[in-house]
Amino acid sequence: MLRLPIYLDYSATTPVDPRVAEKMIPYLVEKFGNPASRSHAFGWETEAAVEEAREEVAKLVHADPKEIVWTSGATESNNLALKGAANFYSGKGKHIITLKTEHKAVLDTCRELERQGFEVTYLDVLENGLLDLEVFKAALRSDTILVSVMFVNNEIGVIQPIAEIGEICREKGIIFHVDAAQATGKVEIDLGALKVDLMSFSAHKTYGPKGIGALYIRRKPRVRLEAQMHGGGHERGFRSGTLATHQIVGMGEAFRLAREEMAVENKRIGALRDRLLKGLSDIDQVFINGDMTHRVPHNLNISFAYIEGESMLMAIKDLAVSSGSACTSASLEPSYVLRALGREDELAHSSIRFTLGRFNTEEEIDYAIKLLHKKIGSLRELSPLWEMVQDGVDLSTVQWAAH
């Protein structure tokens, strides 16, 4: 039985895996102690669970558990990493480099740092969404203190050359932060090999609960940060606040499952994604956004020319997809990520992000393909532009009259 709407928005958030939920529930009910309570068994029990989860998170990315600090999510991790490092190292310089296609959590934080007197370079990306290393090298300055580049883009799923950027940063002694919210469970992350200093993680993009994330803070060579949340001195002073045990346990279990299952799972999801792509490829005037090689297997971002994105979303209500990232989908602005790839507004407007995940089936993908075929046909029949194109008019030569 097909359950509608079909969820194809796994980059916005994922369901908590039932195995994860099962592990969490005891920490909501009988094991409710405050992990900071040192005076009784209720506290020790939850403290032990927190440390076990920390090990699981560390294991997935080949880090030391002591390098993992809990936060309320990747947004907080990004804020802590960028503001914390910028403020701590501000004596060395005031220049920060990031990409135009970063998540809002990085971009908005950079804007705030600009108001505080830092100078931020927002680099363009290539047409395929990837960073050109030569462009990156050219942007480096003697006063560059911090670089922030996302591992996997949330809209187009492209994987940035993190290893190469890391080498360059380390050589120059620049702190390198990576937002890996969309990467865990999808790409191998080896912090033993990658020269990354700070890395942000989220649980709810990897089948864990919302409200919990982590920041990796390298110990060798040691990276220092100014804390952004002060209080009882939890998390070795990096982040104060009572630890949400059940959420932490959930993140640990979700990351453990990712480590054990990602190899098999990514193959299966990649096959589903390819099936979707193949099913849509006979539709005219369809454009894939972002590089298809350096890309996570679960993402497909497509522009359907001559279709207005909003009416498209309305027409395919049976599919839970998004036209940009969830965080910006409340606005009607075309995706700033697609615009950074050089897509015109029309194509950016008519783009759909399909992100597949653990619980999708072939049957669901086939349903989606059939529905898209049907709806795109009927939407284009309504489009005067499409009619002109069919009549052989080159739209770029048309002089539009203003009304």
Binding site: P15, F42, S72, Q228, H230, G232, T242, L313, L319
Partner: protein
């Protein structure tokens, strides 16, 4: 194996079964991101709106005054740093007995050019009235005084303090994390008196850890602590923790029900404890002041608090030797220090905080165990000397 008795409700509380039930569907079945525009997302948004209403109604606030955060510490940090960021540096006053998540961010502001004054308290743990007056004369811009103290349970007359603060144009915040669910807390009334912001937390009232709120008069300007996406009217970015927010809503609803009955039950249990402790020669802290009905803070001369709670734990009673957050810290309580308690006595401090599920029988058994434990410790001390 016997189940230990939990007497540490000011540190955290067990989730109420009804709260768990309300939360469960939001993990694996209804899992949408509230910012998504499809049905999964809209369902999550509706659930958050409903929870926001519940929190608002329970606290006497308007739903648009509720800013969800990841915890009480974040709510306090958000107000202190966020309000300060919108003002030219000046004088900031917080009581000397605030939770570290108010004191520490306040201390951070000193590096940004603010002057910090820690308001003294009297021997009973209440903000010293005459000193408060003299601080007001120096035109503070921000003031934060907690509604009820986590260690002593002492309640401040926040409405009166805020009313005076308003006369000098100071913005007044109160940390009500320990007060909600134990005494009536009405933001509308407090706001009318001059309180412009209030922090509350879910896990102290039978809700989940990982969610809290800053209740904020919308006329107050705040810089967000966490940027990126503009959630919570731009005051707190980050994907909403739907399950926890739903749980918080239900927990708030339940916490304010039947407060009178709960109060008399807790007062009777605490009175019995106090009677027993006085008979053992204990010093009871803050008893002259108005206190939360569930909190009892005491010390026995020549008995180390850490040692005592350790032995009580082994005997099956979970109590605290100080605030949970700083339990790792061997320093005597800053609250007791501010009240002028001698360090030797403060080192003996033990907090019992009662809550749902505690019974008169548990109190009687606890007193017997305590008597027994104290006798043992005194014998050991005598031998050592």
């Amino acid at each position: 194996m016997f189940a230990p008795v939990y007497f540490d409700h000011n540190a955290t509380t067990a989730l109420k079964p009804v709260v768990l039930e309300a939360m469960l569907p939001w993990f694996s079945q209804q899992f949408g991101n509230a910012s998504s525009r499809h049905e999964h997302g809209r369902a999550a948004r509706r659930a958050i709106d409903e929870a926001r209403n519940k929190v608002a109604v329970a606290l006497g606030a308007h739903p648009t005054e509720i800013v969800f955060t990841s915890g009480g510490s974040e709510a306090n940090n958000l107000f202190i740093k966020g309000a300060a960021a919108c003002l030219k540096p000046g004088l900031l006053a917080v009581s000397a007995i605030e939770h570290p998540c108010v004191i520490k961010p306040a201390e951070q502001l000193v590096r940004r050019g603010w002057r910090l004054h820690k308001l003294a308290v009297d021997a009973d743990g209440r903000v010293d009235a005459s000193e408060y007056q003299s601080v007001l004369q120096q035109s503070p811009k921000l003031i934060s005084v907690m509604l009820a103290n986590n260690e002593t349970g002492v309640i401040q007359d926040v409405a009166a303090l805020a009313a005076e603060a308003r006369r000098v144009g100071a913005c007044f915040h109160t940390d009500a994390v320990q007060a909600v669910g134990k005494i009536a807390v009405d933001f509308r009334a407090l706001n009318a008196a001059g309180v412009q912001a209030m922090s509350v937390s879910a896990h102290k009232i039978g809700g989940p850890k990982g969610v809290a709120a800053l209740v904020l008069d919308k006329r107050v300007e705040l810089e967000p602590l966490i940027a990126g996406g503009g959630h919570e009217r731009g005051l707190r970015s980050g994907t909403e923790n739907v399950a926890a927010i739903v749980g918080f809503g239900v927990a708030c609803e339940l916490a304010v029900q039947g407060l009178d009955g709960k109060r008399s039950r807790l007062l009777a249990q605490r009175a019995r404890l106090e009677q027993g402790l006085s008979a053992m020669g204990a010093t009871l802290f803050g008893v002259v002041a108005e206190r939360l009905p569930n909190t009892l803070y005491f010390a026995l001369a020549d008995i180390d608090g850490e040692t005592l709670v350790g032995m009580l734990d082994r005997a099956g009673y979970a109590v605290a030797s100080g605030a949970a957050c700083s339990s790792a810290n061997p320093e005597p309580s800053h609250v007791l220090r501010a009240m002028g308690v001698a360090p030797e006595l403060a080192r003996g401090a033990v907090r019992v905080s009662l809550g749902d599920g505690n019974t008169a029988e548990q109190i009687e058994d606890f007193l017997l165990t305590l008597q027994d434990t104290v006798s043992k410790l005194r014998r050991l001390t005598a031998i050592a000397i």
